[in-house]
Amino acid sequence: MNDSIVSLVDKYHLIAAFAVIGLAMYVAYWMSRNLTGGRLHGSAIAIIIGLALAYVGGITTGGSHGLADVTLFSGLALMGGGMLRDLAIIATAYGVRLQEVKKAGLRGVVALFLGVLVSFVAGAVVAVGFGYTDPVDITTIAAGAVTYIVGPVTGATLGASSEVIALSIAAGLVKSILTMIATPLTAKWIGLDNPRSAMIFGGMIGTTSGVAAGLAATDARLVPYGAMTATFYTGLGILLAPTLLFLGVRAIF
């Protein structure tokens, strides 16, 4: 009986994911209303619940997809995977006014370059602080602080060791997860309540999943603006980290 239910849920994994996420959203919005008096968005709580469950899933299964590695919840990987996420992000652009994008466009581009540079330098400083002296290691860890995709791509290009590449992925994951949690909490201080600052935020932080979830937890209307710039960030990082930025690091060390 139990086995057949498990295999049924496993077979219809995407449908099960819809039901599970719906339930999690209900609980999160209930908590937002009744426990925080609406001060913390329901979506922020839902994302934090998701991350906590992902941690539990990762610890218990040893897999790399959080809760989605638990058989019953395997549909989460499809529902929250890149394909549907990008489709939904693009759909948020419906209703965006182009003047807003144009007005903040130049600042958005500046934020993109500055964002990659600042994250890279932050990662490099920490790597050097922990005693790394090889330019390849420093660059790979620094690239990981850009995003968890830029890190391994850069490491592979430069021929970094697998431990350093793993470290760079972890740095990128920390950045992404911290962005999800810290964005709604700091939004007021950094003025994240209008299309312009959202575009700049997307360029400065850049990690797509972090920006997507952070803005969703702050104000869903800001998502298209932040996502618009963030979508160029990883590509720009992959372009700059193993080339210009690596040469910069090598010139210093």
């Binding site: 996420i21 959203m25 994302i47 998701g50 992902a54 941690y55 899933g57 809760l67 989460l76 529902m79 995977g81 549907l84 939904a88 693009i90 759909a91 948020t92 652009a93 419906y94 209703g95 965006v96 006014r97 182009l98 807003e100 600042r107 934020a111 964002g115 994250s119 932050a122 920490v126 922990f130 990981g144 602080a145 850009v146 791509v153 470290l167 760079s168 972890a170 740095a171 994951l173 920390v174 992404s176 997860i177 911290l178 962005t179 999800m180 964005t183 700091t186 003025g191 209008n194 299309p195 400065m204 932080i205 797509t208 997507a212 979830a213 209307r221 800001l222 996502a227 618009m228 979508t231």
Partner: protein, 135 residues
């Protein structure tokens, strides 16, 4: 029909991703350069064009709006399938590098945004003649 909206969305996504892919190849990087952002711009242009000509009926719109409304649940599912365990097992180097990048990035947002001017006004503070983009 609802599928027209979904197909329009899917078409924009594929076109944007193809353009992003070509851009990446031109620059010699193994990544899609801004495909999603290009798709967003395509969707804005196309729906604006169709709307001006009255060729975007409500049913078509609802095909796009459904995925728009599914955004937050999808992001929650994404959060639940993140490799959180690996982020914590990376040790202090990874945690500090990631944290410093976020702190500096967030701190620079107000610097780049500059003074609060008209076009950087909060969405909530808009006069009714400019309704907030909405959901």
């Amino acid at each position: 029909m609802v599928i027209y909206g979904v197909a329009l969305l899917a078409g924009c996504m594929l076109a944007g991703l193809i353009i992003g892919d070509v851009l990446g190849q031109l620059l010699g990087i193994d990544a899609n350069l801004g495909g999603v952002g290009i798709a967003m711009l395509l969707l804005i242009f196309l729906t604006g064009y169709l709307k001006d000509r009255g060729k975007l009926p409500e049913a078509t719109e609802s095909g796009i709006n459904f995925w728009n409304a599914m955004y937050i649940p999808i992001v929650v599912a994404m959060a639940a399938s993140q490799n959180v365990a690996a982020a914590f097992s990376g040790g202090l180097v990874a945690i500090l590098a990631g944290t410093l990048a976020v702190v500096l990035g967030l701190a620079l947002v107000p610097v780049l945004t500059g003074k609060k001017v008209d076009d950087a006004a909060p969405l909530d503070a808009r006069p009714p003649s400019h309704p907030p983009t909405g959901r």
